[in-house]
Symmetry: C2
Subunit: 674 residues, 2 copies
């Protein structure tokens, strides 16, 4: 009979009896404590470090458990940190209490920066394992090739059965086996194998190797953003964004659908343009992290249905009219190369599902990131892009919609608008008395004082999404524009910053001297109109969802989008982007769709969760709802903030009553304007 010892593992608290002489890595696993290991217990990867604790043990008192382990070995090729041991190099010789540090846990958890500070368990679809196989010999082998011996090794060492080879991996296998890094004593060969979904071998590397990366890409109509992640640790190692190059074929989705319909090579051009953009982002992000595109073995793509279809090379024409039929809705697991993506030759691609003809994978990504379906609170999430993704609900039911806001919130279709990039104005404050602005630029530490260029501040290049939102909201608060969004003629007499060239108003945010373009950077009447149209579309969508859900109000609001800076909840509320809510219940996060893509990249269970959600959530067709148009018209004016937002009342300036009446009269007229 084999004698046993007690083993307890902190911080999970798992404990049980393990045989005397057991390898500590195996012993911990037998208690359900998953320690990370790439090398399979060969003391090579150094991932299974543990701390041997002293002190109280729940059954015995242990003054020192150190003696209950085999002594520190001399031949380990990986060295643990001081005070730690490699579990795979330890033999259990007595009762033990150990701590498994965060970084040694197999399913590490990382915390996203989203509103709820969600915990993501790192469980990627693509992972590496190390194993050793015998070299080929002439004797027998029953006709097996090197691949078949590798398959047998994966079954024997990692219980991975039935793996298939990517055909482009096969030509690299024998070179890896020949490499001197693979050669081991006793005619054995060591290989590190990169595996997708425990079912396909994507890559073999000679000897022990580390490093497997993935790309999470939010393909917006206007902005494409990519996070390059270390798939083992979950860390974001680089982020890159660029304008969607399809913009040259049409600003909004409908004009791109038209382009696809009318131009003979339209679909192919749009497809190639977006694939090229993703390739460029992959290369730049890899460069920035000291890697190559070929280090990327997995990619998750999210986007609205039109982007989703164009990524696949599918003509989006059916999405342009009723019944808005998706060619394919479900999740797709494909080869990146089949889409023209230039990553690792065997890289995989995953597309999250679409929900309906107007509600795409990006909306699902927002749901993964903010997870209203896991919460009791009634949560409203708006992820603002050229289309706003709107999600409302809690664990009982979640409603979702997409609303065509146009690209104004991403700095497009704005006179001096630009993508969120260094030099763009991302923050604006306007003194309500002097009407002088202060701006902050992306990449600058301090607020820019454009009237003192001698401060050697960086020059402003334009205005990004968050800048235009804050700018218009501040102009309203300062009385430069009225509730209809019209420039107040009286304001021109208060400051030369407000002027009326050709009879329409504009406000000088940055004078030519502090501008990189050498021209005044202004917000014009048409810019204000663009913001009004965008926010009206967003707000009308929100109202529709509130009505469908039967909510009078919400418990919490999450504001997301690729504006540049995270948007100021106060200014969003002043503009009327979101319904009234206590300001401390409004959280501004970054790009929620991008975060959702990252979650799907790092955790394959979340991909399955997304597929379940796609069937469960209720989607609302904004385009068909009878009340959408009415809500849209009603939402065009800027809200009379003290009335509409009691929660803001104490932070808002008093407004002249005359102006409010004035604006009420003109609301209908404005609604008729384009």
């Amino acid at each position: 009979m084999v004698s046993t010892h007690w083993l307890a593992c902190l911080p999970l608290g798992r404990r049980g009896q393990v045989p005397h002489g057991a390898n500590l890595l195996d012993a911990a696993r037998s208690l359900g404590v998953e320690l990370e290991s790439i090398c399979g217990g060969r003391q090579t990867c150094g991932k299974c470090q543990i701390i041997v604790e002293e002190g109280y043990f729940p059954k015995h008192d242990l003054t020192s458990t150190a003696a209950h382990l085999s002594p520190v070995g001399e031949h380990a090729s990986a060295h643990p940190l001081p005070g730690r041991r490699l579990a795979c190099a330890c033999v259990v010789a007595g009762d033990l209490l150990i701590t498994v540090p965060e970084e040694s846990q197999a399913r590490k958890q990382i915390i996203t920066k989203t509103a709820g500070e969600r915990v993501i368990s790192i469980q990627p679809a693509v992972r590496q394992v190390y194993l050793e196989i015998p070299a080929a010999t002439l004797e027998a082998e029953g006709g097996r090739g090197d691949w078949e011996r590798l398959q047998a090794g994966l079954v024997g060492e990692w219980q991975l059965a039935g793996l298939r080879p990517d055909p482009l991996m096969l030509p690299t296998l024998q070179a890896a086996l020949r490499d001197r890094r693979a050669v081991l004593p006793a005619d054995r060969r060591g290989l590190t194998v990169t595996i997708w979904n425990d079912s396909e071998v994507l890559r073999v590397q000679p000897g022990y190797a580390e490093g497997v990366y993935g790309l999470a890409v939010d393909v917006g109509s206007t902005t494409v953003a990519a996070h390059l992640c270390d798939l083992r640790t979950g860390a974001v190692v680089a982020t890159e964004a660029m304008m969607n190059p399809q913009l040259r074929y049409g600003e909004d989705l409908m004009s791109r659908v038209s382009y696809a319909m009318l131009e003979p090579q339209g679909v192919a051009r749009l497809h190639r343009a977006i694939i090229q953009a993703v390739n460029d982002l992959a290369r730049k992000a890899a460069d920035r992290a000291g890697l190559a595109s070929s280090d990327v073995l997995d990619i998750v793509l999210v986007g609205n249905p039109v982007m989703h279809h164009l990524l696949l090379g599918i003509d989006p024409v059916e999405l342009g009219g009723s019944p808005f039929a998706l060619a394919v809705a479900g999740p797709l697991d494909l080869k990146a190369r089949d889409l023209g993506l230039k990553l690792h030759p065997a890289a995989r691609v995953h597309l999250l599902p679409c929900i309906a003809g107007h509600v795409g994978a990006d909306n699902l990504a927002v749901q993964l990131a903010e997870a209203p379906h896991l919460q009791d609170e009634r949560l409203l999430v708006v992820d603002v892009g050229t289309n706003a993704e709107i999600v409302l609900g809690n664990r009982r039911q979640v409603y979702c919609a997409s609303s065509p806001t146009g690209p104004a919130f991403e700095g497009a279709q704005i006179t001096h608008g630009q993508r969120a990039a260094p030099g763009a104005i991302e923050r604006v404050r306007i003194d309500p008395l002097t009407l002088l602005p202060r701006c902050r630029l992306i990449g600058a530490d301090d607020w820019l004082d454009p009237d003192h260029p001698e401060a050697r501040a960086p020059l402003a290049t334009g205005i990004c999404g968050s800048g235009i939102i804050e700018g218009v909201a501040e102009m309203y608060l300062a009385g430069i524009i009225d509730a209809d969004g019209r420039f107040a003629e009286a304001a021109a007499s208060r400051s030369p910053r407000v002027r009326f060239p050709e009879r329409t108003g504009e406000y000088v945010l940055v004078p030519a001297g502090a501008s990189a373009t050498g021209r005044d950077i202004v917000i014009t009447q048409s810019d204000v109109r663009a913001v009004q149209l965008a926010k009206a579309a967003l707000y009308a969508g929100v109202k529709l969802l509130l009505a469908r859900a039967g909510y009078a109000q919400v418990d919490r609001v999450v504001l997301a989008g690729s504006f540049g800076a995270t948007i100021s909840p106060f200014h969003a509320m002043v503009l009327g982007l979101i319904p009234d809510c206590a300001l401390d219940r409004v959280t501004a996060v970054g790009n929620a769709a991008g975060d959702g893509a990252r979650i799907a990249l790092l955790n394959s269970e979340q991909r399955r969760e997304a597929a379940r959600l796609a069937h469960w959530v209720q989607h609302v067709q904004t385009a068909l709802a009878d009340d959408f148009q009415a809500e849209f018209v009603a939402a065009l004016a800027l809200p009379h903030a003290r009335d509409a937002f009691p929660h803001l009342a104490d932070r808002l300036p008093a407004r002249p009553a005359s102006e409010i009446r004035h604006s009420r009269r003109r609301r209908a007229a404005l609604a008729d304007q384009p």
Copy 2:
């Protein structure tokens, strides 16, 4: 209670009771009689034709069964042949006796032209089904796209669950649904779907469509041959062959392995060359059949291990030396596009397994074609190419080997050698008295009389494999060469056709006047040497296998190869290609490896059979066998036919005893020559 009727189906003889009012297609299927149907019983495809019989029925006497069926309908869009009915358009109204003609059977059988006249059941990996699905609607659909509705239809109508889409099919789906051929009443859509292995959708076509083709390719070191097959009927609709373009990088396998090792881009060049060749063959074969390459949805590739690896882009260097390790041995199911094949964009490719480092998928294909493992007779199969594939055995055990014969038997490395193509001399007879030859050209109906060019015979372009074998054998029988293969000086005095320019002999097969090249077409001393070396390698391999199997003799011999014409067993035996056997037990077939590839193309069960065989057969390493070299040397001379082949004795001329003694002395000297 539903009343039932007796139904009996000829020629299978299945019978049983079926419900009154049952559809005859369903009723026959319920008795296990698989009738073909693409349209799923919609009277569209016309494939399920049956003949209603009159006469004796095993239980009742039926004078006429015609009245026991529903009357002929008026709305069938497919019309059966006279005297036939469409089973799917018939309702059972009484006892019935029907005949299912061969062409209506679901698993049609075709007979290959191989030695055993094997019956192949048509059970291809790729097939078409027709189905109808509802058009997209705005209402609900639970977020399903057109692909998901197609999936649901495939489950509902064909019990095909869990199908995945080829990503390149997806962009074609909505266009097919929009096509007027797909539009049906009641807002339904009809599609014909092409499916691989009941698991992947490769193609969708609007409405009812017919036609799915596959290519079976034998990739030899010297010759590449392709059969284009109708996957529904099994018919070969075109055959094309060409020289392997890799020849420019090396005549034999070892020189190509060297090229791959020494040239930096060597592997890539060899890979591209062979893929380009397969693409060319596919295009030419499709052209000839009035089709396009894109009509090809499945391809089976067989070849020796070096060809197999180069098709996959794998460096064959490990196959060039001990332990001759295959990178991958097992069967592979891949996407044709991943190898660079230009067929249908979604086409599949299947590679039969390799058996060992020297014994490849082509050997397995030979085994599939001739099936010694299913026979009681001890069968010897030699498929002669640049490597001879040798298979020996019966159902108890099969042994196999590959022997490096060189390309002489395919017309390469022969002074006026050429590939088997129109104009090539494929048959040769030499009058032993006058030493005048008669030749037959590929593509010509009659034997060419080269001394009477006024007969307007076609001009000879060169000598193909079967021509060189018969030519050398006839020269030996006529006494032009002796048993050592040396030109007999005495023969020159008997005919001007035998001459000794520069002191080495040559024989004029076709004079310049009847030659397309305008030069004499001759067989030279070095050509005779090349044939001797080739046949010695082949015979030594055969001897090794006989020794390993412990056979003193065999019951039957199958001679295969891409010689041009099927080789004459008599001449093969005169040359000593095969051991002694009664001539009527020697069968000459075409390219057995190509036939095996065709079998694997038409029957996916045979692909699994090949995988089982790969593990079961015993392979013999010719290169390592101590006795191979000795057998090779012993086999260099031409056999003294009367002694070696008692079965031929009555057909052979008497030979001068002096010549035989003379040659015996010189045999050792010849063995030292290259």
